[in-house]
């Protein structure tokens, strides 16, 4: 046991540093918007991955819509013994034209300021300065997609010929990629359309207000509730509290039992007879949060268990 301790301490240090880096990275995504009331709202800039995912979803939906239109109109035309199939085809073409050019604009001008793909990933379009998102901005940002996506795409499909032509196409592709990959090279992950429209895409998924874990009635065993000493509560910090919150909210009973055992060992707590792991964890969570919040009010924010405060 004693030989294993240094190794695990090194391990723990590494993990802690990794955690700090992750947190710093997360903090970089936050743009503070000061409302006219003077309160700060923390908006999170969406990542390139999220935006790309939303875009792929939207393109998929667009394709599905177009195919649905063609199939539906084809079905109607065939029900009419193909009389006037040219009319049917013309109508389908017009509908496809609208889907192709106005899908994004239609949804982003709407109240949710997001296409279905963006909504699925919890994204929305917002004005960069916190002002109103105007229809003009939405139109500008979406028509510029022509430059960012469809131009490189058409260049890719135009590969062919030989000798100098191929080289010219490569150069052209390189030039187009400057626009396509623009979001990778700025800290707000803005694409060219966002730049011109003065918008940004933020990550603001809907969060449900869950029950406060500390609100469950105190677990009583007979008449004695579970009590912890200040020393036992001083072992952990805020990070561990948050991890415990996640464990209590969304993990399996086995994991809860595991975590309960580890905490009990670490703080030297002897389980009382008839007490369940869940009751222990909830009681410990409530006690730890009360303890840490109390200290926070006095200006001592104990970040994690390594924080000697």
């Amino acid at each position: 046991m004693t030989e294993a301790t240094p190794v695990s301490a090194v391990e723990e240090g590494k993990r802690r540093r990794a955690r700090m880096r992750a947190r710093q990275y997360e903090a970089k995504r936050i743009r503070t918007l000061v409302t006219p009331e003077g309160a700060a709202l923390n908006l999170k800039v969406s990542t390139f991955g999220e935006r790309f995912g939303a875009f792929i979803l939207d393109i998929g939906i667009q394709f599905a819509l177009m195919i649905a239109v063609v199939v539906a109109i084809g079905f109607i035309a065939s029900a009419m013994q193909m009389q006037g199939w040219q009319i049917a085809w013309a109508v389908a073409q017009v509908l496809i034209f609208f889907i192709r050019n106005f899908y994004f604009i239609f949804f982003e001008i709407g109240r949710k300021a997001a296409t279905p793909g963006k909504r699925a990933l919890g994204l929305r379009v917002a004005d960069r300065k916190g002002g109103r998102l105007t229809a003009n901005a939405v139109i500008a940002r979406n028509f510029l997609r022509e430059l960012e996506f469809f131009l490189p795409l058409s260049v890719v499909f135009s590969f062919g010929g030989d000798g100098i032509a191929v080289w010219v196409t490569w150069l052209l592709l390189l030039w187009c990629m400057l626009f396509a990959l623009f979001p990778l090279f700025n800290k707000d992950k803005l694409r060219v359309g966002d730049l011109v429209a003065g918008t940004m895409v933020i990550h603001a998924p809907k969060v449900r207000l869950l029950k406060d874990i500390a609100s469950v009635t105190p677990a009583h065993i007979g008449d004695t509730s579970i009590v912890f000493t200040p020393e036992q509560l001083g072992v952990y910090g805020i990070h561990e509290l948050h991890v415990l919150e996640d464990v209590l909210r969304q993990s399996t009973p086995e994991i809860k039992t595991n975590v309960a055992n580890r905490i009990a060992t670490k703080i030297g707590y002897a389980p009382q007879a008839g007490e369940t792991d869940l009751a222990f964890l909830e009681a410990f969570y409530a006690a730890l949060r009360a303890h840490l919040e109390q200290r926070m009010l006095f200006g001592q924010r104990k970040e994690d268990k390594f924080d000697r405060r």
């Binding site: 709202l41 040219q86 085809w89 949710k112 730049l195 603001a204 207000l209 509730s225 509290l241």
Partner: protein, 334 residues
């Protein structure tokens, strides 16, 4: 007992009902807009919003419950976007666009419009005279697939200008085809390319002018200039004007990127983007009208004079609509 009743817990207990009320109102508003709210809800909204925002700042300092803070962050952001979001209705905004904003944006962009015009018609004139002097030039600009080339006879060329048999099917087909013809694509493209300092926009416009000019020369040589003009400009006035305006929108953005002046580049782009967006969406609407004119008008009207009259009327209409000064009104763009 007392150690279980924390400040953060009491804090939440006291305000939770208001938060969920705000949540409900905002959700309703996101679904159905302002009209979906009752008077009472509208009255409550600002109060609840301010309370939620102050709850958020308190929660950040006293609570360690992640869920509460995350919930308040998103609730406040959603409420903020609604409270300070767009006010005017869609119908009002559309009405204002046609009544004022569109024409104002276009007439404010006279410089870029002139530049786009020169690119398009400069290219056209150049190609026209080149092709007149030597027919070989035609093949430089066009592929071999078009039957309307210098080798075609007078009768063949003339036949392409007039429709002897026209029913609704052909018209609709022509309309739809026109929507997809390269012109509507080019308009949006010319706008988007403007971002690269406007140079690709200029090239695109010149290229299209060249295409048009050489095509014109073929008909001119055969003595069909008058007839072609009617055929082309019945919808061409609207269509080419739209392409020029789309190019102008591109130049506006290109200009803002290249020469921001006293503003920062970001600001200058954003301001230009705002006006350019109105110009480009207007151009798309014009292209739609042009497609209607081409699909139906050109198929139905085979008389040169009538074609000229329509072309002239549309020209006067667009000029009057865009450039005639009009009385100022209150801005309802918000």
């Amino acid at each position: 007992m007392s150690d279980r009743v924390m400040k953060s817990y009491r804090f939440r207990e006291e305000r939770e009902a208001d938060w969920s009320e705000l949540d409900r109102i905002v959700q309703q508003a996101e679904k159905r807009g302002v009209d979906g709210l009752t008077d009472q809800e509208l009255e409550q909204l600002p109060h609840l919003y301010r309370q939620a925002v102050s709850s958020l700042s308190v929660a950040r300092t006293i609570s360690l419950d992640q869920n509460v803070i995350a919930y308040l962050e998103t609730l406040c952001a959603r409420a903020y976007f609604f409270v300070y979001g767009t006010r005017s209705r869609m119908s009002e905004r559309i009405a204002q666009f046609f009544a004022r904003d569109w024409a104002a944006a276009v007439s404010a962009a006279k410089g870029p419009t002139l530049l786009a015009f020169l690119c398009l018609f400069g290219g056209a004139l150049l190609a026209f005279f080149l092709t007149l002097s030597d027919n070989e030039w035609y093949w430089t600009f066009h592929g071999g697939w078009d039957s309307r080339n210098p080798n075609a006879t007078y009768a063949e060329l003339r036949a392409t200008l007039y429709e002897d048999r026209s029913d609704i099917v052909d018209m609709l087909g022509a309309f739809a085809a026109q929507l997809f013809s390269h012109n509507s694509g080019i308009a949006i493209f010319a706008f988007a390319l403007g971002f690269a300092f406007g140079a690709p926009t200029a090239i695109l416009l010149i290229y299209n002018g060249v295409y048009l000019g050489s095509f014109y020369a073929v008909f001119w040589q055969k003595g069909l200039g008058y007839e072609l003009t009617g055929w082309l400009f019945i919808h061409g006035v609207t269509e080419l004007f739209a392409v020029i305006l789309a190019g102008a929108a591109g130049f506006m953005i290109g200009g803002a990127v290249a020469f921001p002046g006293r503003k920062t580049r970001m600001e200058s782009m954003r301001d230009a983007g705002d006006t350019a967006a109105m110009v480009i969406i207007g151009a798309v609407i014009m292209l739609f009208l042009a497609a209607l004119l081409e699909g139906f008008g050109r198929q139905l009207i085979n008389d040169d004079v009538t074609r000229y009259v329509i072309a002239g009327t549309t020209l006067i209409f667009w000029f009057g609509y865009f450039y005639l000064p009009r009385r100022g009104e209150i801005d309802r763009r918000d």
